[in-house]
Amino acid sequence: MNVIAARLRQIRRYPSAIFGLVIISLLLIVAVATPIFIPYGEAVRLWRGGEDMWAESPRNAWPIWYNWFRSEKLPATIVFDSADGDGETTLENLSADTREARFIYEFDFPYDDFPPEMILFSKAEFDEKQPHVEMTWFTPDGREIRAGEFSPGPSDSFRFAQDSRLQRRLERSTGIDDILVEEGMFDDPEQEGLQVLKGTYRLEVSALLFEEKSNVDVTFVSYGLVHGIAGTDHRRRDLTIALLWGTPIAMAFGLIAALGTTVTTMSIAAIGVWFGGWIDAFIQRLTEVNNIIPLLPILIMVGTFYSRSIWLMLGLVVVFSIFGLAIKNYRAIFLQVRELPYIDAARAYGANDMRIIFRYLIPRILPLIIPQIVTLVPGFVFIEASLAVLGLGDPILPTWGKIIQDANSQGALFNGFYYWILEPAVLLMLAGLGFAMVGFALDRIFNPKLREL
């Protein structure tokens, strides 16, 4: 073991391996921290909770840091929720049973593009008479635009874009035909064409309550074109959660599969070589048959017919990879090791078969399998991603591959939502590169024949 530790220390001589180690450590830290800070249940709720969960996020928004690289800033999401005490709220008694609740939301709009969507969500409590809501829009240049009215049900939403009277008013005020409501509300009428008027905007919401116990809460959302650290997908979900949770899954899948496969393969090769005869021949034939069985198609078949659980897939990957071509390499090495004098010595003192296999044969080639394990990890990480890209990812857990699949099926590349594919792809790439770099260095350290080259 000391020999192995000493060899491992040589890794310092390989800068690429250091880089790889840093990447692996970062990924492992994320992999450990994510389940602690966002427990499994919470992650599933955030990722599969339903429309309400994501209502206040925009669709297909770029990550927020995209603005750092642009001269024209894209709008961020602006949310005012009266239930959370955002904005100014006043309540006034107009008559015996009529009250007026006023919500004033004032915000700065320093961006160069228009928001894609604006919605006023409302939650109202009443017995019979619905409250009535009126909105007024104040632009930085002092214009006042009536921005629609509606009588909200218990849980309702008002989409500015669907108000045709507001749209006509904005056409008159900006002088542009067929202007979109969101564009009209932020357009600068003094300038030719569409141009955002930067400055402080104000939305005043006045709600008339006709019952004593009646109450109303409103949430105003001006959706952004950038949102969150990682952007959002076509269902308004924040990608951060999937990217974070994809890390432990990818790491666990890759490491367990690599470790399980290598150790089992090695043990089987050792047993075959030691006992020889029909056991060895059987293992050899099994390996040949297994080479003809296409792994990915079998996984696909099982995924479509039975279950898509990631753990079942992991088990199958390990089972089918055990009798891979590595078994032939190990066999060749064990055949040499078997003839060494210390094995004869072990036999002479009366060690039984299992003792010789597990205490004498296998430890001898342990140094060889360390690079092997590390080099195998990326392959398995990509198998998991491949399955997810084919739509056979785990049905519940969010993974990197599933983001790519979502993005691909929504034509992300064609529609220009590059972040959607690039983020999981870069993470996959980092994981793959990190392990591959370390694996290469280890291979050179533990394979003296390569080291000389």
Partner: protein, 383 residues
């Protein structure tokens, strides 16, 4: 001068020449016998592999369903063509169909135990006789699984044949030239780039599409030819090549660095063998040393390692074709998964087993051609 001092050599050479035709025919016989043995062995492995596939598929009764569906479809079709049958009332018609289906099911052995049925299924799977697809149809409108798959096989073979041939020759050539220039800038570059091969082709495909189709808009996003397909064969070929650039590059990027690296290392190890040093000492030209003393003895190993590479590339093809919308069997597979088309999924798995088998056989054959041990008769029991 050496010939003068060893006149025996001349005699020996002429005697070799006289017996060379006999030796050649012997070598050919051995080669054929070796190939035939490998073919039998591989066919047997394919049979076992397909049998495993059938077993996995039928654990949920999926193959049974395919068979029942095919029988019902045939019975209904035959009955609907009968004018007398059409005039019968509804209930009677269903009853007759039920009865006929039952007879047919018995005829095809669906009432027999699974162990017997499984061998029938094995035969059907091996001959791709898997009846009708459930939702997909071929471009010519056929719903026979065999037609659907055979129609798409050429596109897959064109794409991966091209990619693999380029990969083989380019990496062989570059590997050899790098082993000569060991330690140079390019050598170090390949060494540094080798870890990038951890990612499969489809993964690089995404990036290539993003850059060349999305941002630069110089190459198509996917597909095999432009729509509508050009009538002129020349234009058709050009369009095909334009569409092939990105998928082929994606395959190459994902595999080329590691392949060059492996072969370079391999050649380096072999070029330090004693007999190579000996050849150098004799003052033979570099080219000759490379061809006769390094490349020649390593060819069997090169072929073997290439076989392994091909196997991984084949399975990666499913997703690569999906990403590039290439109308091959990989994309067919993807669609079949999407609509749970059991017969097509099963048939595709079998086709992949065949493809792997054929690949391994071809490489075994080349192996036999280049491995002197097979011709001389030593290694006839295989690798």
């Amino acid at each position: 001068m050496s010939q003068e001092s060893f006149p025996i050599d001349v005699n020996a050479e002429s005697s070799i020449q006289s017996s060379s035709s006999k030796a050649r025919s012997q070598a050919i016989t051995r080669l054929l016998r070796y190939s035939a043995l490998r073919l039998v062995a591989l066919f047997f492995t394919i049979v076992v592999g397909v049998y495993v596939t059938v077993l996995i598929a039928n654990m949920g009764g999926h193959v049974d369903d395919i068979r029942r569906g095919a029988i019902r479809e045939n019975v209904v079709l035959a009955a609907s063509l009968d004018p007398e049958f059409r005039q019968l009332p509804d209930e009677q018609r269903t009853a007759i169909i039920q009865e006929r289906v039952a007879i047919q099911e018995r005829r095809f052995g669906l009432d027999q135990p699974f162990i017997i049925r499984s061998f029938v299924y094995l035969r059907n799977a091996l001959t791709l006789d898997l009846g009708f697809s459930e939702g997909l149809s071929s471009d010519s409108g056929s719903r026979l699984v065999k037609n659907i798959i055979l129609e798409r096989l050429p596109s897959t073979l064109v794409l991966f044949g091209t990619a693999n041939l380029i990969l083989f020759f380019v990496s062989l050539f570059l590997g050899l030239s790098l082993s000569r220039r060991y330690g140079s800038f390019f050598d170090k570059l390949v060494l540094a780039m080798a870890p990038t091969s951890a990612a499969p082709g489809w993964f690089y495909g995404l990036f290539l599409i993003l850059i060349f189709a999305g941002l630069l808009q110089v190459l198509p996003f996917g597909g095999m030819v432009s729509a509508p397909p050009p009538d002129n064969p020349l234009e058709y070929g050009l369009s095909l090549m334009r569409h092939m650039v990105l998928p082929v590059s994606a395959t190459l990027i994902s595999a080329i660095f590691i392949t060059i690296y492996n072969w370079r290392t391999f050649f380096l190890i072999y070029s330090s063998e004693d007999y190579v040093e000996m050849a150098k000492a004799k003052g033979l030209p570099d080219r000759m040393i490379e061809r006769r003393y390094i490349l020649r003895p390593t060819l069997p190993n090169i072929v073997t390692s290439f076989a392994l590479l091909l196997i991984t590339l084949w399975t990666g093809a499913i997703i690569l074709e999906t990403v590039f919308n290439w109308p091959g069997i990989g994309q067919l597979y993807f669609r079949a998964i999407g609509i749970f088309d059991t017969p097509v999924i099963l048939a595709n798995t079998v086709v992949y087993a065949y493809l792997l088998g054929v690949t391994v056989f071809l490489l075994d054959f080349i192996y036999a051609l280049v491995d002197p041990r097979v011709r001389v008769g030593e290694g006839s029991q295989g690798r």
